[in-house]
């Protein structure tokens, strides 16, 4: 899950991402906190997320961390390069995963539809990551946080009176490491959005977006 605002065109193009193809492998269930794989592990399977949320991270020797993406239902994680995983993947919200053999990505295991679906997921991943570059390289802290909240709201928000509500399964430092910021800066951006009436907070995890248009404008860099 990347959070740059898609253009009309790219949004449309990224639509066919979910696949419900059958598989010979039984689903995997993992509790919050468990790891699906670690960086350097040999790639055995790739996984489509059925329910729950996972987190993909990379570490630098000195402890600096980058959250590569959050995996939400419909996303596919675990694409290999050179036969090994290049991120850690752990579970934020109890998760049900559909595993696929690597051969399914390579040739479909005799199922052309599955093959196409997995390939499309990989290609959409490339496109989404390109969008995320713009965020990390060229957007301000306020724009990044607004983008993050806006995209999650669009994909997973539930209508409430007065706005759309989302539950954030990740902590502030996850958001910070995803957006290339510090927890303090993320926290201050949340506060600024709250004080300007764009969002309301109900506890730490629950965000109600009161003014989606303003949030979108902020995420594109148009100061409200």
């Amino acid at each position: 899950m990347y959070v740059t605002i898609f253009s009309e065109r790219s949004a449309k193009s990224c639509a066919p991402r979910v696949l419900e193809a059958p598989s010979k492998l039984p689903p995997v269930r993992l509790k919050a906190g468990r790891y699906l794989y670690h960086e350097g592990d040999e790639v055995q399977r790739i996984y489509r997320i059925g329910s729950g949320v996972v987190r993909l991270t990379r570490l630098l020797e000195d402890g600096r961390r980058q959250v590569i993406s959050f995996g939400y239902p419909g996303d596919v994680v675990g694409f290999p390069a050179g036969g090994v995983h290049h991120t850690d993947c752990d579970v934020l919200v109890d998760t049900k995963l559909q595993p696929y053999r690597l051969t399914a990505l390579r040739d479909g295991d005799g199922d052309p539809v599955l093959h196409q679906a997995l390939l499309s997921s990989a290609l959409n991943e490339i496109s989404a990551m390109q969008d995320h570059f713009m965020m990390l390289g060229r957007k301000s802290a306020a724009e990044r946080v607004a983008s993050f909240l806006f995209v999650i709201t669009e994909r997973f928000g539930e209508d409430r009176e007065g706005g759309r509500q989302i539950t954030l399964p990740m902590c502030r430092s996850d958001i910070a490491d995803f957006l290339g910021l510090t927890t303090e800066t993320v926290s201050r951006s949340f506060t600024a959005l709250r004080k300007s009436g764009v969002i309301a907070l109900d506890g730490i995890q629950t965000v109600i977006v009161l003014d989606p248009k303003a949030l979108q404008a902020l995420s594109d860099g148009y100061a409200s």
Copy 2:
């Protein structure tokens, strides 16, 4: 071409990137300054770069630009998402390209070796982009510039007495937009590297790396 320093493991895993599979399509030659495709264009072909250098860019409405990557010989560019290109691609150095049909990515056009090679390129692209996230999200300006020069030197440097020499086909603003910096900051980082004796400059485009170890150390964040 992404410029984060690969770990031992990932470096090894990214080795099999070049492919020399035959194709039914004739090679394409483009002069510097010409566009291979634009954002939004329907994807007709993907291309392996035989010689030359290309540049992939994305734009924000307000003019902010992100250089997504530089395409060097052996790299594959033009991976589609939803049937359209999501970047502009133009030529920095006169280029010879080997085009492939989309069907070659999907099923190999009856050539399993080609199919595997293109798929591997796409997957390696994902891994390389994940590394680049770390750069944009978590590295300082000095580390980014050092990483950039180090990786180009490793891949394309030519031995000279007293160091390894590279020719940069892109201008400072390209480097800046690739690393998420300004041209001034890139220029200052070059100057700092020159004054500390790590590199020498011979004109604007030619860099001689005098102390590769120091450059690598700087790129990993170990102050010299």
